[in-house]
Amino acid sequence: MSTRKSLITSNLRVLTGLVLITWLILPLIPLAIWSFARGWFFPDLLPKTWSLNAWNYALSDTAGVLDSLWLTIGISLAATVLSILVGVPAGRALGMYKFKGKEIVELMILAPTIVPGIAVVLGIHSVFIFVGLNNTVPGVILVHLVPTLPYMVLVMSGIFANYDASFEAQARSLGASALKTFWYVTLPAIMPGIIVGGLFAFLVSWSQYILTLLIGGGRVVTLPLLLFNFATSGRNDITGAIGMIYILPGIIILLLTARHLSGRSGAVGGFGQI
């Protein structure tokens, strides 16, 4: 009796799991198929003819997709590096010290993770016009820091909260300079946090749309902008190919770090922004 019942529940679980699996991969399937289709008309369930045209186009030197890819990688890398350089010290201050006004500082750092980009980017845009950062790559990188930096700080403050600074004191007492102590003691200890936080920052920057659209002003065309343009212009095959290229870094990062990405890390909130 109880075994039969548990058989039913376990079958039910597998069934629900199958539904969930289907639902999770479903939207990616037509995208992948389109990238290999030559004309795929209603009501065909699958394309009549297959081709690599879309991929040839996307990977050709003249189409601009590759330029856009390198540009996007460059912008996201720059935003990541800046987030690390600025976020690590801030994380140290928040993770290791108690001080007056700490809650307000935390609140100020938390705010950009919840307030949508559209609410701040219009104001930023009208200032960037004056300082000449509009329509420039540095301007885009700078505005990407608004969503990326908070996650870096959150991850690092979590890391530093569990970090024992007496290792540094020990190193200093053994004769290491401040710089050497940082290099040989602090950095190895916080490296996992830098990697996870950096990957988050990269992915968050990688997925930015409205910030790039407004600040880039059509001059800085990152991959999502290009993807959106092709998607609305009806070139489904090229859209499919660019879409596949666009999700690649996320998959690579996932394969490299799957075990770090547990929901327990405060940084998982970063996924909400991707």
């Binding site: 801030a90 100020m108 705010a111 219009l122 879409g243 998959i251 799957a258």
Partner: protein, 285 residues
């Protein structure tokens, strides 16, 4: 070096960026929404932009639509995410695949999901083709409008697709750190499976669910590219409307766009308040 100086120096670069860019952006938006911009000679703040916004029928339709999108997506995603987390907590064939797809889905940008939804649910999309295959429809226009539609079904479906894994991963981690002992206690005190879920597990995971939901609500309320791709032209979602006003050839519409941005910001401030209240309580136990 005193601790105070050290803390200040450590925080300075990050705070500079956040204060200048984020709060600066907000402040400038706020000033411009009041038509106050001394640099370009506007020194008399007024409420005309808000007056225009609040007398515009499109704004109300747009606000309601956006609220409907955010609310419906958040509620449905949260419920399904709790279900998915309950499922993933148990061992079953295929669990690791679901787990992997959950994480994979987290890394796929919303825009890609939105394009996928477009290809699935549009009137010439995969589901319409399936319907034609089964002779349910003869031509694309007979397939129900699920994208560019007034109820924003396509947008909501895309958010549900993206946010189930997001909330699910957080809730699952939450459940794993709570463990199953509280539920065992309840069972042994005479609670049925349902009572155990309702009176024990749900209250325990509620703070985690709520803080994840708040993030989802704020995101779905303020996202631009998804409604821009999948939404109807009129009424458009609030962020789309704000962007259109801002980029209107008529520069006089900019303060209106700023006013809408401020309205979105105020709504997210409410979300932050809820988030802080519950996440703090969770931390303090």
């Amino acid at each position: 070096m005193s601790d105070r100086l050290k803390i200040t120096l450590l925080l300075l670069p990050a705070m500079l960026i956040i204060v200048l860019l984020f709060f600066g952006g907000l402040a400038i938006g706020l000033m411009r929404s009041f038509n106050y911009m001394p640099v370009i000679g506007l020194t008399e703040p007024d409420l005309s932009a808000y007056f225009l916004v609040f007398t515009d029928r499109e704004f109300y339709l747009s606000f309601l639509l956006t609220f409907h999108i955010a609310f419906t997506s958040t509620v449905i995603s949260s419920i399904l995410a709790i279900g998915a987390a309950l499922l993933l907590r148990r061992n079953f064939v295929g669990r690791s695949i679901v787990n992997f797809l959950f994480q994979l889905n987290l890394t796929v940008p919303h825009l890609v999901g939105a394009i996928g939804m477009l290809y699935l649910f549009s009137q010439s999309g995969s589901f319409a083709r399936l319907a034609a295959e089964w002779n349910l429809i003869a031509k694309p226009s007979q397939f129900p409008a699920l994208v560019f539609d007034p109820y924003a079904i396509g947008i909501i479906l895309q958010y549900i697709w993206k946010e189930i894994p997001f909330i699910g991963v957080i809730v699952l981690a939450n459940m794993q750190s709570i463990g199953e002992d509280y539920e065992s206690v309840a069972r042994s005190l005479g609670a049925s499976r349902w009572q155990t879920f309702r009176h024990v597990l749900l209250p325990l995971i509620f703070p985690g669910v709520l803080s994840a939901s708040v993030m989802v609500f704020a995101f779905t309320f303020g996202a631009y590219e998804i409604p821009a791709l999948l939404g109807a032209n009129y009424p458009a979602a609030l962020p789309v409307l704000a962007y259109r006003k801002y980029t209107d050839v008529d520069l006089a519409a900019r303060p209106e766009a700023m006013a809408m941005a401020i309205i979105i910001a105020i709504l997210s401030a409410v979300m932050i308040y809820i988030y802080i209240r519950y996440s703090r309580r969770r931390i303090r136990g």
